[in-house]
Symmetry: C2
Subunit: 227 residues, 2 copies
């Protein structure tokens, strides 16, 4: 470590400049090399590789599952400028508008909905003694048909998405079902499979907002590159 304390490591970057996109490409090359026996299709690998890139966790390769219509339905929706529903504001903050606009230039920030921090939603949750994520989904009811839904946090949000599909025939074009945790998470993912909705899920307890965002970004890339 002597050279590190002598001279900060960052000077190596000034000596050999690499941009953000170049670092991403180099990272993808490392992932490809270390995960060479992956079983996914090319499209699926685009997603899985980005999930690994986001977490440095290769176990996600085995946990990620796609419905047969995930890409066809998801890419068609993105091209059509489908509304996007997110269960957390971290997802809304993480979604790259530039990447959405590469697929459809009409996309704006106003196409990405998240109601979990709304005052009226918090009030309903407090009155009912139930999670805010439930009422946040209900508030978005009118925009959910044909939308792209990203769940990276709250299994209850996914349960309500499932109920709307089962009982009210409100069917998103794609559900990125990646809630995380220890209560209701497994049930929410199992039930999603029963709904027949186009989906990408991470099996088991794992998930997270950056994973949901990474999945959407990868599907944007797939859509754009196929044009």
């Amino acid at each position: 470590m002597a050279q590190i304390t002598d001279k900060p490591f960052i000077y190596n970057l000034y000596d050999n400049p690499v941009s953000g996109p170049e670092i991403e490409a180099r990272s993808f090359a490392v992932i490809d090399a270390e995960a060479e026996n992956y079983q996914q299709t090319e499209q699926e690998w685009e997603v899985v590789r980005r999930l690994i890139h986001t977490t440095a966790d290769f176990t996600l390769a085995e946990l990620t599952c796609f419905s047969d219509d995930a890409f066809s339905s998801g890419t068609a929706a993105l091209k059509a400028g489908a509304k996007i529903y997110a269960d957390s504001n971290m997802i809304r903050a993480g979604i790259s508008l530039a990447r959405l606009q590469k697929v459809n230039p009409a996309y704006s920030r106003e196409d990405v909905f998240c109601h979990v921090a709304d005052v009226d939603v918090a009030e309903k949750a407090r009155q009912a003694g139930l999670p805010r994520s439930l009422f946040a989904v209900q508030k978005a009811r009118e925009i959910l048909s044909g939308s792209i839904v990203l769940i990276g946090n709250a299994p209850v949000a996914l349960l309500e998405i499932n109920r709307l599909a089962m009982e009210e025939d409100i069917r998103p074009a794609l559900v990125i079902g990646m809630p995380v945790g220890f209560v209701h998470v497994l049930e929410s993912k199992e039930e999603l499979l029963c709904t027949g909705l186009p989906h990408v899920i991470i099996n088991g307890r794992r998930g997270g907002s950056p994973l949901a965002v990474a999945c959407l970004h990868a599907i944007c890339d797939v859509t754009y590159n196929k044009k």
Copy 2:
């Protein structure tokens, strides 16, 4: 799965209502039960448990390391209303203002800085052919001494934090060093250890914005509960 397709699972919640905080408490109980042999101090376990809660990944227990002064320096800074620097807008979106205000009521959204998406930062990065995260840290230079720094994404941001400490004696009160990925990540964490800055890190390639946020929230809880 028959009962699931008959009746959406979410009705179980209406029958036995549980709020968000109750679900969190139940999740923590599951984590405590499954990780009963943890080696951390009580304070450290508060952090590690929340990292596990955020990801459902128990391997983080072994990867998380604390400097001896992490809690003393971090809690003092929070009580004093120290500025907060985040390397991603996902972190900024994820930080709970209510939780900060429980520690110090004077906290506002304006105390949380993130410059990675600023137009002037993007322009500098493009001209230099270097990552935006570098120039985002440089833009925050004046507020970094005594601040709490959260790095959940970009190792280059952490490298610049390190350089500022080593060369310019700009010393944050706490560095939550959790960049993730495959390029410069290991070096950035190793160098942080050499700076002597108070820190919490996740060893190896792992990290992420929700982990950095969870760490800050846990330290808020520790600070508040000790009052």
